[in-house]
Symmetry: C2
Subunit: 171 residues, 2 copies
């Protein structure tokens, strides 16, 4: 898909078809995250790919907004080193935002829908995924083909108008 | 450009050709940021587009790593509401990461290079851009055609190996 179409086709998907996503597509999406930029190239992320139904159902319990994982074809959990310094915590969030956005655009390009979730219950996530004590699960997103309507560029999105958001030269 | 090519063609560019970037291309890049996803769709951003040489030179002084702005064709400054709550500050950074990544991929698609910068001197940024007291400049990125070598998918990037970053099923 053309880039501009993929960017406009990305939307939050929370209900997925039963169709599995090919391994090669999941790998490309993960690769988009792997090559994302980060502050001083610190790459503060590991990605855990979850595809077993039982694990997806468990993952759906890590937060009240995580239910969509139960019916997804897969999920990618972004696991990061715990930061003590508040400024580093903010930097990490920015970089994780960059990496997940790149993965979600790469997914949209393949017709694969994505839906974010926060992770509230870190102990549940840890017992499910087995990541070390000095890491935390920052976010995950579900993946799969949308149950209703394939991804295509949206004509209208629920966003603030361009002229309100954009300033030329000065605020 | 195909999405997968644009994602792999994006790299940090800090030296720019003198060629201006067409207004329509800048608008498309800004549009990619405008439609980016955010927590509860709060869209915590305004974008100030800077294209005057004098302003770009001033902008290059907001941080020690901001020098590339002086020779850029343009810069986009992401201005956000100041958050008192640390959790909201992290959430904001994540969302700004998403929006800037989307803009940088949209730029790469058009052959336009981008380079991030933090913003250290908020008062200089504020006097230059005129944003209100309850906002801060979170980041900016410079834009322009690369002085050397057009953007094309990179075969090698300086990143941790795929098998180190990605875990299947469990860490």
């Amino acid at each position: 898909m053309e880039t501009w179409d993929a960017i406009r086709a990305r939307r939050n998907v929370r209900e997925f078809a039963d169709t599995p996503v090919p391994d090669g597509d999941l790998e490309r999406i993960l690769e988009a995250g792997r090559i994302a930029p980060s502050a001083s190239n610190w790459q503060p992320w590991n990605f855990v790919l979850v595809t077993e139904r039982e694990d997806l159902v468990s993952l759906s319990r890590v937060w009240r907004g995580a239910g969509h994982a139960a019916g997804a074809a897969a999920a990618i959990v972004v696991v990061c080193p715990i930061q003590d310094d508040p400024r580093r915590r903010e930097l990490l969030q920015y970089d994780v935002g960059q990496a997940t956005m790149s993965m979600m655009i790469a997914a949209a390009d393949l017709g694969i829908g994505t839906g974010h979730s926060s992770i509230g219950d870190q102990e549940l996530a840890r017992s499910l995924l087995g990541f070390p004590e000095d890491r935390f699960a920052a976010y995950f997103f579900s993946l799969g083909y949308p149950r209703e309507g394939s991804l295509r560029p949206l004509r209208r999105m629920n966003r603030r108008p361009f002229e309100e958001v954009v300033h030329r030269g000065r605020w």
